[in-house]
Amino acid sequence: MKHTLSLLVENKPGVLARVSGLFSRRGFNIDSLAVGITENPEISRMTIVVEGDDRILEQVIKQLNKLVDVIKVSDIKPESSIDRELALVKVEAGPKERPEIMQIADIFRARIIDVGTRTLVIEITGDVSKINAMTDLLRRFGIKEMVRTGKVSMLRGAKAVKEE
């Protein structure tokens, strides 16, 4: 099962290596990882998406909690959270295909942010399934390159994943 972990960590060098090391040691592949500072510049947030055996993941979470630079770890449930990802997609787009591609982008409320003679770059924001749905449709035109940020998540409502 896929899990989304939200971590508050010290904004210090080496923290990412400490965190990722615990996953690789147990053979977990990290599906996506997004890091950025929080409202407090001394603290960063990592959103990590991993897939793996629940019992082993529970061990990993306990080990993450033991890291001195990790302040808090939450396993965020999809039903109680909102999540977004951003992707940039460079699609092959000759003059003939261009209208159809722009229409697809429009339907997904994506934006065209660069136009070349034979390519378009589309920026899309949404949850993971929305991005997958659009890229699936674009595939037949030929995707030259794609960059995804990895998912970021937040709890719905007033609750927050915060330092206690």
Binding site: V9, E10, P13, G14, A17, R18, G21, R25, I43, Q59, K62, Q63, N65, K66, L67, V68, D69, V70, I71, K72, E163
Partner: protein
């Protein structure tokens, strides 16, 4: 009203160690540590020059285990630092509080493959509790205070601090920090009262309880509470290898060690119990044997300071996270005295039926006999061991009664650990006799430390149980590989007594059982480091034994067939 003083990073380093009451450092200097060693030259902190950095880490570890204080070791950048790695991994596996300081190339050269550069914080990431690369000398006082605090609190462990050369020479305004600010580090020490109540209820309902005590009891200093718990419940106590000494092995409720080379009765009692009270123990594979055959009918109360140990290998029905001593104190208040039961009788019967056995009439020197004689002549000694058969015989036949008297590498199983650890223990406890029970294979892995022991006047005694084999591996080859002794013969070892003499220590050779006691007496009477070479039965095996992949009640005794 604190006064700030101007000083170099190296001066600040020494000043910080003073403030933390560090009395001894085990180490070897090098180019990247010159500024610090120059400061140490005038300092009253004792520095013990070892002859290989691995021994510095093990000595700090032995010092920490024997005294309960943080052990400190030091090595230069690059190869000096990488030589510490085994010692750090060893301390990490056994939760030993040590702090390692390493020299590093100047910050401007880090990452350039400079001379004697190694990324030691990267290398030691998975084998330290935490580590630091100091990039700014102004952060040094905070970091040193944190390092010692992290190493010694919660579940203890090794911490490494990497010190670039320019950080050591940089001038700072020194002020020793009063407080520690660590947002992400708050170990739990008090057990949850509701969980303690639930545990007490389960204990009072149990008919066949067993107490399973580990190294956490030593660390927490909970041995008196453990004894009170056992006597209140009249419950048998078995220990892990690292738990040895937490419960007097001469006590009628003692079952000795459990697991692969534990006693038959400990393994039987564990298997048939209906409640395991695990205290500071982690259900290691050497304890549990095949997991699905481990204590199939038992509920598990698991007391541990590390939440990550709960239900890691064996599911805990009632976990209690916190310090063992605190929790046991609260738990005992909730309990009522229990009388002897049928369960006690059954266990007493097992103990009579399956005692530890070896050939006591042999004309050869039996290693078990040597250990028994060491115990008889020096029951209060601190015993260090190497790893393998020597370690198991020491664990089985020396009757430990006090915590911090058995110094052994459990989790990592590091050959070459015992001798430098014994040196560290002797430095920490100069009034105690410290004996390393060694094998001929293990001893050679750090025998260069004879120089350290002799020059620094650290009179540890080494009892080599010399079977001219890598004995434990040979035992497995005998039992499971058709006696094909591939690469386990050590008949070309040096003459150990002569080796000892070459360093200025005393060497004694013993070839007959009748000379064992006089040799031990001679060693104890000498004020020098001593190496006794006991020429034991070459193909003696460690029994009882649980074969790999078997359940712990499928244990084989002396003379039984596998």
């Amino acid at each position: 009203m604190s006064k700030k003083q101007k000083m170099s990073g190296a001066e600040a380093f020494v000043e910080c160690l003073h403030k933390e009451h560090v009395e001894v450092i085990f180490g070897i200097p090098g180019g990247a540590l010159l500024p610090i060693y120059d400061e140490l030259y005038d300092s009253d902190i004792r520095h013990i020059l070892v002859r290989h950095e691995q021994a510095a880490a093990h000595a700090a570890d032995g010092y920490a285990r024997a005294t309960g204080r943080v052990g400190v070791c030091m090595a230069t950048s690059g190869p000096g630092a990488t030589n510490l790695v085994t010692g750090l991994a060893n301390a990490y596996m056994d939760s030993v509080p040590i702090v390692a300081f390493t020299g590093q190339v100047p910050t401007s050269m880090i990452g350039n493959d400079a001379f004697q550069e190694a990324n030691i914080t990267g290398i030691t990431l998975p084998i330290t509790k935490h580590n630091y690369l100091v990039k700014d000398a102004r952060t040094l006082p905070d970091i040193i205070k944190e390092a010692l605090y992290i190493a010694s609190t919660g579940r203890p462990g090794p911490v490494l601090v990497d010190l670039p050369k320019d950080v050591q020479t940089e001038e700072i305004e020194f002020e020793y920090p009063k407080n520690i600010k660590l947002r992400g580090y708050k170990p739990t020490s008090k057990g949850h009262p509701l969980q303690i109540k639930r545990a007490a209820k389960a204990i009072m309902e149990a008919e066949r309880p067993i107490i399973y005590a580990g190294g956490g009891v030593v660390i927490s200093g909970a041995h008196a509470e453990l004894l009170a718990l056992a006597e209140t419940l009249m419950a048998p106590v078995t220990t892990t290898l690292l738990g040895i000494g937490t419960f007097p092995s001469v006590h009628p409720l003692s079952l000795g060690m459990v697991g692969m080379h534990g006693t038959k009765y400990a393994n039987y009692a564990m298997t048939e119990s209906d409640l395991i009270i695990a205290i500071g123990a982690r259900f290691d594979d050497r304890v549990t044997g095949r997991l699905d055959g481990f204590a199939p009918n038992a509920k598990v109360i698991h007391i541990d300071i590390d939440p990550a140990e709960i239900s890691k290998n064996v599911a805990a029905h009632i976990p209690i996270v916190g310090d063992a001593k605190n929790i046991l104190k609260e738990l005992i208040k909730e309990l009522k005295r229990k009388p002897k039961s049928k369960w006690s009788e059954k266990i007493e019967k097992w103990k009579k039926e399956f005692p530890l056995e070896y050939d006591r009439k042999s004309k050869e020197i039996k290693p078990q006999y040597v250990v028994e004689q060491i115990y008889d002549l020096c029951p209060d000694a601190i015993i260090a061991t190497e790893v393998g058969q020597n370690q198991m015989w020491a664990a089985q036949y020396f009757k430990f009664t006090k915590p911090r008297t058995f110094i052994t590498s459990g989790g990592l199983g590091t050959m070459g650990y015992g001798f430098p650890a014994a040196i560290g223990a002797k430095v920490g406890c100069p009034d105690k006799t410290v004996i390393d029970i060694a094998g001929d294979g293990s001893f050679l892995m750090n025998s260069q430390e004879l120089a350290t022991a002799v020059i620094n006047d650290i009179p540890v005694k080494v009892a080599i149980l010399n079977n001219k084999f890598l004995g434990m591996v040979r035992q497995w080859q005998e039992l499971f590989y058709d006696r094909r002794y591939s690469a386990t013969r050590l008949d070309t070892s040096p003459d150990f007594p002569k080796l000892a003499e070459a360093y200025g220590a005393l060497g004694i050779e013993v070839t007959k059982p009748g000379d064992v006691r006089s040799a031990i007496k001679e060693a104890l009477a000498s004020d020098k480091p001593v190496v006794i070479d006991f020429q034991i039965t070459p193909e003696e095996n460690v029994f009882p034994m649980v074969p790999a992949g078997a359940a712990i009640n499928e244990i084989i005794d002396y003379g039984e067939k596998i």
